[in-house]
């Protein structure tokens, strides 16, 4: 029974932390740009506002447009049951491995892209086409990074990767792990629609990717999609934090270890949020057709990660 409570608590924690994380990144960015910035908890109010508004739906859209937000949100939420946020190995560790996590998130992207095409606007099509292009090109990097991690740990199951690193701390600074981390960091920026791949705060048609796709959404549907996107950022950050630096995760379930785990998770997310805010302040958005070069770089890093873990074994 405690297992199920732990899983549900972890999913709720992710749901609660996701808006704060995004608000924090926005706040740090504003500070770095000499602006006062909105308070980090503003996204909670955004959600409340969106949930309170009525939905305006395009007359061209079909049932798929109404169904997609649920799938997008549910696929992200389902992943929070598999990713070790505060404890490892999780009770549901055997239900899905890292590949399940990646493909569940791709399922959400798939439906979001379809929903972008549904209202029949040029913007939606543009966003869907670009989003799928970026997602497709990011895919091999993810697979190879997983491959590199699995080689070291002997498994693709998240819990076993974490316990393998905990048992053998030297692995965390091995070249394979460091390179895989760098590769996955670039992919995280691409998959979660951050600079330099996509600008989360733009509404300029030439540069939009994610925003173009969801332009027709409003009200509770928009709230679900936004929340899912923030959740996705939290998930990717937690993967980066807990697969590569697993210390702090509760391996035995006592109130003390769980409290430590929650605190370390928040610290790790804050550090990664800080890094992303600095990156987003320092770099300009890449032209869309330069993005494959960046992802090509991450692919090479992942390839090197696999090669080095093969050579150093």
């Amino acid at each position: 029974m405690t297992h199920y409570i732990l899983e549900i608590a972890q999913a709720l924690l992710a749901l609660l932390l996701a808006p704060l994380l995004v608000g924090f990144v926005r706040w740090v960015k504003a500070r770095l740009q000499n602006r006062r910035g909105a308070p980090p908890w503003l996204p909670y109010f955004e959600l409340a506002k969106l949930f309170g508004k009525e939905v305006v739906m395009s007359n061209n859209a079909s049932w798929l447009f109404r169904f997609a937000p649920t799938i997008v949100f549910a696929s992200a939420l389902a992943v929070t049951f598999l990713v070790p946020l505060i404890a490892a190995p999780l009770p549901f560790d055997n239900v899905g491995d890292l590949l399940v996590v990646v493909y569940l998130l791709l399922l959400g992207t798939f439906f979001l892209a379809l929903a972008g095409l549904d209202p029949g606007t040029a913007f939606g099509g543009m966003g869907a086409s670009r989003e799928m292009t970026v997602a497709a090109i990011a895919e091999p990097t993810i697979a190879l990074a997983i491959f590199g991690l699995a080689l070291g740990a002997g498994s693709t199951n998240l819990g076993r990767i974490v316990t393998a690193t905990l048992a053998n701390p030297g692995v965390a600074i091995s070249p394979g792990h460091l390179l895989a981390f760098a590769a996955l960091f670039i992919v995280t920026l691409a998959e979660t629609g951050r600079l330099p791949v996509d600008n989360p705060s733009t509404h300029l048609e030439l540069t939009m990717i994610h925003e173009a796709m969801i332009l027709e959404y409003s009200g509770r549907y928009l709230a679900l999609i936004e929340w899912a996107a923030w959740l996705k950022l939290t998930i990717f950050f937690s993967l980066l934090a807990n697969l590569f630096v697993p210390w702090g995760l509760a391996t035995v379930l006592t109130p003390a270890t769980l409290a430590i785990a929650v605190v370390t998770l928040i610290i790790k997310l804050a550090v990664l949020g800080l890094v992303v805010a600095v990156v987003e302040t320092r770099v300009a958005k890449l032209r869309l057709f330069r993005v494959p070069e960046l992802l090509g770089l991450s692919f090479v890093l992942a390839l090197l990660a696999v090669t080095s873990s093969f050579l150093l074994r």
């Binding site: 949930f51 309170g52 395009s58 549910a74 029949g120 799928m132 090109i137 990011a138 699995a150």
Partner: protein, 682 residues
């Protein structure tokens, strides 16, 4: 088992017979009877295959009197053949049911229903017998029967433009393949010399062949079977012939027939030759990965819905060959368990592909039926006019894109997991090859997701782009039933792989000395790789995917979300109305990828701008035309075709039209043959 076999053969033969008389296969009854023959035949075939797999006892039947030369008709169904017989049934039953409704469109005399009915049943019969063949003669006869009958099926709509040309490509490629297979089998039967070519003798004799001979046999067989399977660069017939055929035939050809190429290569390389040096596997793996990637890249650029699906078949057969290649490679490097797993993954993907590609081709057929076009740029908005077809196609699209919780994901997961142990082979070349295969497999699956967003989004969503699309009608009941059956298969294979995978373990056990991996899989809700390498539970994950979306509306209710919904115009930056011309098209959807992979596509661009005669600031018309070049055809096939034509022109001189000349040829040949027979030492 004998009863099932006889039921299978007689049902197919009867199904062909009822269509044979003048006016046969017409009307609801005629089409129904043709379909009934195929359904009963395929059902009996599947039952026969399933009983062989479950009991583990092969089914044998030999009729030496039937073809007295070269050993007669010898049939034996072992578990490998049985798997493919089940696969045929899996694809054929829905296709036949669907075809009964689909071919109603031919009642207007556009195509011969008589020919279609006869050939469909004969095609299924010969294809089923390929899996049963136990000597060289039976195998090649049935193989050629399958090719010929499918040729006639491809040219069903012979009145349509391009159909005959597609048929010609198919006939040429398949016969080039047959020539290679003939050569391979001639070499294989060379020892024991003069034997009747029974597979058991070949299996025993293969060990005493020299390494070079074995490799030559393997190469010939790989290319021969590869041309049927459609691996790059022998795939050129596939995107031509599959769109031209009636849609249920496309479903059968893409879903089932190309798998016979996989069967052939497994039978020859693994069973008869018993495996070979590592480079065999590396070659199959490499060409498989190339086929997967190039197949999906060309599929992305296709605007013809059925052509897109045909290219995607090249991709999927490539994925199957990645598994087969990895299996051969691991077997040769002394990792039999890993090899067996790779073969299991390949077979699982083959089974999956039969289900979802059959479904998608049938969905495309329903769309073609309703809109009379295959061009996606003339479709759109069909989800409202054809809700069932749209739902079924969506399930097929999610499955083929390899997304959970459907079967495509399980297949790719198994393949990824079976590739992982490859890196532990202490040989950098192998490790690098396997790593590249993983990368290409991942890129392929990402691109497949993009491709099927395009296929589904442009075809079924948004505003109709033509009058025909706006007036589309839902498919008939039998067509929906055919698609519905495959939807069930896709879902079942996605939810319960743990029930299927151990059976596939039995199929490959014992072939070429592979161990039985069946007991290594834990038979419970989860799918566990041997040695605890990884474990997932598709069943529980799918259950989660059912529960969690259900929680979302509940959660929104608890949060007190506003439940009102207003339908309004699409936001249009202040413009007045929205027309289909403002939508993204199939071409524009693929534009970013066309740019990213421009090196491969070599796109051609033509831009003509008509200015107003008085001022160049007033543009009257813009014409933009873009196409991609297929450099396979330019660099590989065009020189080949030119050379063939050159040789043919030279040879034509022999055909002088003079009777004296022909008599002289006869005489010369006779003398040469006598000379050869009387040559001393023979």
């Amino acid at each position: 088992m004998q009863t099932l076999f006889l039921a299978m053969v007689s049902a197919y033969v009867l199904g062909a017979f009822v269509a044979l008389p003048e006016g046969g296969g017409r009307g609801t009854l005629g089409r129904g009877l043709v379909a009934l023959g195929a359904v009963v035949g395929a059902g009996a075939g599947s039952a026969l295959g399933a009983s062989v797999i479950l009991s583990g006892a092969p089914f044998t039947l030999s009729v030496p009197e039937l073809l007295p030369i070269a050993g007669g008709l010898a049939l034996r169904l072992d578990s490998l053949g049985a798997f493919f017989l089940v696969l045929i049934g899996l694809g054929a039953i829905p296709a036949a049911i669907y075809g009964a409704g689909y071919s109603a469109a031919y009642e207007d005399g556009r195509a011969s229903l008589r020919l279609l009915g006869v050939m469909l049943n004969l095609f299924l019969l010969t294809m089923s017998l390929v899996t049963l063949a136990d000597n060289v003669l039976t195998f090649l006869l049935m193989w050629e029967g399958m090719s010929l009958t499918s040729y006639f099926l491809v040219i069903t709509e012979s009145g349509e433009e391009g159909t005959m040309r597609a048929g010609l490509w198919y006939a040429a490629m398949t016969h080039a393949g047959l020539a290679l297979l003939l050569a391979a089998f001639v070499l294989l039967t060379a020892y024991p010399r003069g034997g009747p070519g029974a597979f058991a003798d070949l299996r025993a004799g293969a060990a005493s062949l020299s390494g070079t001979t074995r490799s030559v046999i393997f190469l010939l067989a790989f290319l021969g079977f590869g041309s049927k399977a459609g691996i790059v660069p022998l795939h050129v017939w596939l995107p031509r012939a599959h769109p031209a055929a009636p849609s249920h035939v496309s479903a059968l050809m893409s879903g089932v027939m190309i798998k016979m190429g996989v069967y052939g290569i497994l039978r020859v390389a693994l069973d008869l030759l018993g495996g070979g040096p590592p480079w065999w596997g590396a070659l199959v793996l490499g060409l498989g990965a190339a086929s997967a990637l190039l197949g999906i890249l060309y599929a992305l650029m296709a605007n013809d819905l059925k052509r897109l699906l045909a290219y995607s078949s090249v991709e999927n057969i490539g994925i199957v060959f990645i598994g087969v290649g990895a299996g051969l490679l691991f077997g040769a490097r002394g990792l039999p368990t890993a090899a067996a797993l790779a073969f299991v993954a390949a077979l699982y993907h083959a089974l999956n592909h039969t289900a979802f590609k059959g479904l998608l081709f049938m969905g495309a057929g329903s769309v073609l039926h309703a809109t009379h076009t295959r061009d996606m740029n003339l479709m759109g908005g069909l989800i409202k006019r054809m809700p069932w077809t749209a739902l079924f196609f969506l399930i097929g699209a999610v499955a083929i894109a390899g997304l959970p919780p459907l079967n495509g994901f399980v297949g790719e997961w198994l393949l990824f997991q079976s590739l992982l142990p490859g890196v532990s082979i202490p040989q950098p070349v192998v490790a690098a090859l396997v790593t590249m295969a993983v990368g290409m497999l991942a890129l392929t699956s990402g691109l497949a997701a993009a491709g099927f967003v395009k296929a589904y989004g442009i075809t079924f969503l948004a505003i109709p782009r033509s009058e025909e699309a706006a007036q589309a009608h839902e498919a008939s009941l039998s067509m929906r039933a055919g698609m519905g059956l495959l939807v069930i298969v896709c879902i079942a294979l996605g939810l319960a792989p743990a029930a299927v995978v151990p059976l596939l373990g039995r199929v490959v056990a014992g072939l070429g000395g592979l161990p039985a991996v069946a007991p290594l899989f834990a038979v419970n809700l989860s799918l566990q790789m041997p040695h605890g390498f990884a474990e997932i539970s598709p069943t529980l994950a799918a259950l989660g995917l059912l529960i969690v979306p259900g929680l979302v509306p509940v959660g929104m209710f608890v949060l007190g979300a506003n439940r009102r919904l207003r339908v309004g115009d699409t936001w249009g930056c202040g413009r007045v109305g929205q027309t289909p011309r403002m939508e993204y098209t199939a071409t524009s959807f693929a534009e970013p990828l066309r740019r990213v992979f421009a090196e491969l596509y070599r796109p051609t661009k033509e831009l003509t701008v008509d200015f107003h005669p008085d001022s160049k600031y007033f543009v009257q018309a813009i014409e933009y035309r873009t196409d991609i070049r297929s450099w396979f055809e330019e660099f590989l096939y065009e020189p080949l075709l030119n050379a063939t034509q050159w040789v043919s022109r030279r040879i034509r001189r022999l055909q002088s039209g003079s009777l004296h000349g022909y008599v002289a040829y006869l005489f010369i040949v006779l003398v040469l043959m006598l000379g050869a027979l009387l040559w001393p030492g023979k």
